[in-house]
């Protein structure tokens, strides 16, 4: 049965190995621990959060339709949040971009102090004291940022602090797209 194809059979291990290496090479540029959002193109799950304190407006899922919105999940105890904050302040300055915040598992007083120190870019801040709303949104760490379109659908989520590169390469083009 194999006499003609015998040579080919011996090539099988090498062939399998080459395919394997292809995958391994691709794997070097992937992040195995990154959890992509399960909410892409789905409506934002319903939630209703109390305001952080008397200085901010509350945040509910109803507020997320009508305009293109960015929702940033942050906490005062989160180091990378500090790193991305200046960029958030810049984004807040830009026209036509709604930037809302969700304060995750934080003490409102400490969070307010944090925002006073670094600046408050958020038009609305919801306080998610026990982290339940975050779980509804599929959040597993801070910071995370959601991009939500006019119909209230999640179009993009970035895990980790937003860098200039992420902003200019991913978020900004998408936002422009969604506005048209």
């Amino acid at each position: 049965m194999f006499s003609g194809n015998r040579g080919l059979l011996y090539l099988l291990p090498a062939a399998v190995f080459v395919v394997l290496c292809g995958f391994l090479l691709r794997g070097l540029s992937l992040d195995p621990a990154l959890v992509p959002t399960a909410l892409i193109d789905k409506a934002v799950p319903h939630f209703d959060l109390a305001p952080l304190d008397s200085h901010s407006a509350p945040l509910a899922s109803a507020d997320l339709s009508g305009e293109v919105t960015l929702v940033n999940v942050f906490a005062s105890w989160c180091g990378p949040c500090r790193i991305e904050h200046p960029l958030l302040m810049e984004i807040a300055e830009m026209d036509n971009i709604n930037l809302y915040g969700i304060n995750y598992k934080d003490d409102p007083a400490i969070a307010r102090d944090w925002l006073t120190e670094l600046g408050d870019p958020f038009t609305r801040i919801g306080a998610d004291r026990d982290g339940r709303v975050a779980i509804e949104l599929g959040v597993y760490g801070v910071p995370e940022t959601f991009l939500i379109d006019r119909e209230g659908r999640v179009r993009y989520k970035h895990v980790g602090p937003i860098s200039e590169e992420v902003w200019s390469r991913e978020l900004l083009p998408l936002i422009r797209n969604l506005r048209e």
Binding site: A14, F23, L24, L28, P32, L34
Partner: protein
């Protein structure tokens, strides 16, 4: 200064390795004795210089020389001496140095113990070893140099991860690497054989001891790692199917298959191409493991600080070495003449089935480990493949294998008599059924799988004992005759039987601790008694403690026993200020029936403490079984036939198979 010497020694080793890779290979092709001899000298020199480099790094750690970046990142002056030393290989760069050291050690061992090897084969083996060394030494020197300096020199280092500050760290990696890297010899032998174009009984006889050594070390290495996880991580678990664990398990599975396949190759001159392929695959799996651990391609608790740039280097190395060897296999293997014929029901047939199951198991573990990567790379989703998957698919593959191990000693070469096998196993089967019945009775209401496991274990264990008894004519011949028969039984038979008994222990341990484990998670008050599977744990409170580089709390449980003293258990929670990291130290008492295991949690507001209390039946049989398996390997190794050397190749006339195999 010493570190400079170490650095230079490392560079010298690379140069020597280059020479060692090229000269003997050319010499073997040209049958030039002088060029081939260079291989031996080079191998010894390489071992010498890499040892110097390794000792230099160790010296830097011991003296806390923080001008070396590697020491500054991984050590601390307050660290206990044992961990200063063991810390040498507790990081990426240092562990690579250990890798090449062991590679060079095996190369030197070939020089010392390979006196009976034909010069061409020896030269080629050393050349391949050197080629591998070139790859790893380059990788070390160019991307992961442990001798890199740090300026300005910090006052103190970052310290070693507290989880690694454990005696386990001192022994687990060295044994593991001795196994992993040891398979490089089998690999080199395989490549040399392919280049020579000849695989015969003699080749298999030479390869077997080296494979046994590597396999025994790897068995111990994996067992140590598992044991360490058991007592260090605090949940009584001992195997998590973590990618790095799988990375060491796959070469073990393939290596076990290789051991068995080499027997057929030696005794029956068959399965040549397959044995060669296995030798290549086993070491390739070791190399793949090295890649997986250091490239960041998979998440793992064990992974070193990963860097995709390093990953590319290792991948390139993998492509060259593994791809090259498999290509060589594709070209040369078809020319190997196939040898002895055998009936499917025979010892050869059994060993082929053994190989089928073990190789399928290795392929399954590989599939499960890499599948998340496949799915992600193809963009079709993101999934996790965890213990539930592996446990589901692995057990059906291993069960027939264990059954087979029980029958194996009874199968004869070439053509076995099924009826005869049945007759001989009848006695074993009856005894096994008795054990199963007893087990069912004792554990009625529990899971049936547990009894199945115990039954498998009994099958193998009793099978071995009955077979040994039959061999020496126990209860049939007078004691003196039995004794002399026992003395004359070759050590490799003892090795096989001891290893299989080890397997029986292992299976029993795994089964009992998985099926009948009792776990109690509770908040306990001082003076309270908690019942765990019939054992009464009494909680006596918690006190503060201070260690050399940690502070913490120690809880006190006692378990009363009827006639002897009560067992005292002191679980601890430690905090290491340098790394700002807490650890949990479980308190374990190992008794005959199993382990009592206590872990202290956190206090609650009412003065109670949360605690996890376990009874793990027969869990230490897992490591005992592994040790016994490794012991079997060592016993086989001591067989005179391996030391005396392979049978003389009959150069003229037809090679008579039967003469060669009856040694």
């Amino acid at each position: 200064m010493i570190s400079e010497i170490g650095h230079i020694a490392l560079i010298l080793s690379l140069t020597i390795a280059l020479v060692q890779g090229i000269a003997p290979m050319i010499g073997a092709a040209r049958r030039d004795g002088q060029l081939m001899a260079i291989g031996k000298t080079a191998a010894l020199l390489q071992f010498f210089f890499i040892s110097i480099a390794f000792l230099a790094l160790m010296n830097a750690y011991v003296t806390s020389d923080f001008s070396l970046a590697n020491v500054a990142q991984n050590s601390h002056s307050a660290k206990p001496m044992l961990y200063k030393i063991a810390g040498v290989w507790g990081n990426h760069e240092g562990s690579l140095l250990l890798w090449v050291l062991i590679l060079a050690t095996f190369g030197a061992a070939v020089v010392f113990f390979g006196g009976n090897l034909p010069p061409t084969l020896c030269a080629r083996v050393l050349a391949v070893q050197a080629f591998i060394a070139v790859g790893f030494l380059s990788f070390t020197l160019f991307t992961s140099n442990p001798f890199e300096r740090l300026f300005p020199v910090p006052l103190d280092g970052n310290g070693l991860n507290p989880l690694l500050q454990d005696p386990g760290l001192a022994f687990h990696p060295p044994f593991l690497y001795l196994g992993y890297v040891g398979f490089s010899i089998a690999f080199s032998f395989a490549i040399a054989a392919l280049i020579e174009g000849r695989v015969d009984a003699a080749w298999a006889r030479w390869v077997r001891p080296w494979t046994l050594v590597a396999w025994s070390f790897l068995t111990i290495g994996i067992a140590l790692g598992s044991w360490w996880a058991y007592y260090e991580l605090g949940w009584g678990g001992w195997w998590f199917w973590d990618p790095v664990e799988n990375a060491s398990f796959m070469p073990w599975l393939a290596g076990t298959a290789l051991l068995h396949s080499a027997i057929v190759c030696e005794k029956r001159d068959a399965l040549k191409a397959w044995t060669i392929l296995l030798a290549i695959v086993t070491f390739s799996l070791s190399l793949l493991g090295t890649f997986l651990v250091r490239s960041g391609v998979l998440t793992s608790v064990h992974a070193f600080a990963t860097d995709p740039a390093r990953g590319v280097f290792i991948l390139a190395f993998l492509v060259v070495v593994v791809g090259g060897s498999l290509a060589l296999f594709a070209i040369r293997a078809p020319q190997l003449k196939s040898g002895g014929l055998f009936s499917p029901v025979s010892r050869e047939g059994g060993l082929v089935l053994n190989n089928l199951l073990l190789t399928s198991a290795a392929a399954t573990v590989l599939l499960g480990t890499l599948y998340p990567l496949f799915v992600d790379a193809l963009g079709i989703g993101k999934i996790s493949v965890g213990p539930p998957y592996f446990n589901t698919v692995f057990i059906p593959l291993m069960t027939p294998l264990v059954v087979l191990a029980g029958i194996a000693p009874v199968l004869t070469w070439k053509r076995a008599d099924l009826y005869g096998v049945f007759l001989r196993m009848k006695f074993v089967a009856i005894l096994t059924l008795l054990v199963v019945a007893w087990c069912l009775y004792e554990t009625w209401g529990g899971t049936f799988l547990g009894t199945l496991g115990i039954g498998l274990s009994a099958w193998v264990g009793i099978g071995v004992l009955v077979d040994m008894g039959a061999r020496v004519g126990l209860f049939r011949d007078p004691i003196r005759v039995s004794f002399s028969k026992a003395m004359r039984t070759p050590r490799s038979i003892y090795g096989m039987n001891v290893a299989h008994i080890g397997l029986a222990f292992l299976v029993a341990g795994i089964t009992a601790s998985s099926a009948w484990r009792t776990e109690v998670l509770r908040v306990v008050q001082i003076g309270e008694t908690v019942s765990v599977s019939g054992y009464e744990f009494v909680f006596h409170g918690v006190e503060k403690i201070q260690g050399p580089n940690y502070s913490g709390e120690r809880g006190h449980f006692s378990v009363n026993r009827d006639t002897r003293d009560a067992i005292q258990l002191f679980p601890e929670n430690r905090f290491y200020p340098v790394q700002q990291q807490p650890t949990t130290e479980a308190a374990i008492y190992t008794g005959w029936r199993g382990d009592l295991y206590a872990v202290l949690g956190e206090p609650d507001a009412q003065g109670g403490w949360s605690a996890r209390l376990y009874f793990n039946p027969l869990v230490s049989w897992i490591w005992l079984g592994s040790l016994v398996m490794a012991l079997g390997g060592v016993i086989s190794l001591s067989d005179r036939r391996h030391r005396v050397g392979a049978p003389h190749r009959i150069m003229s006339g037809k090679a008579n198979n039967r003469v060669a195999t009856n040694v």
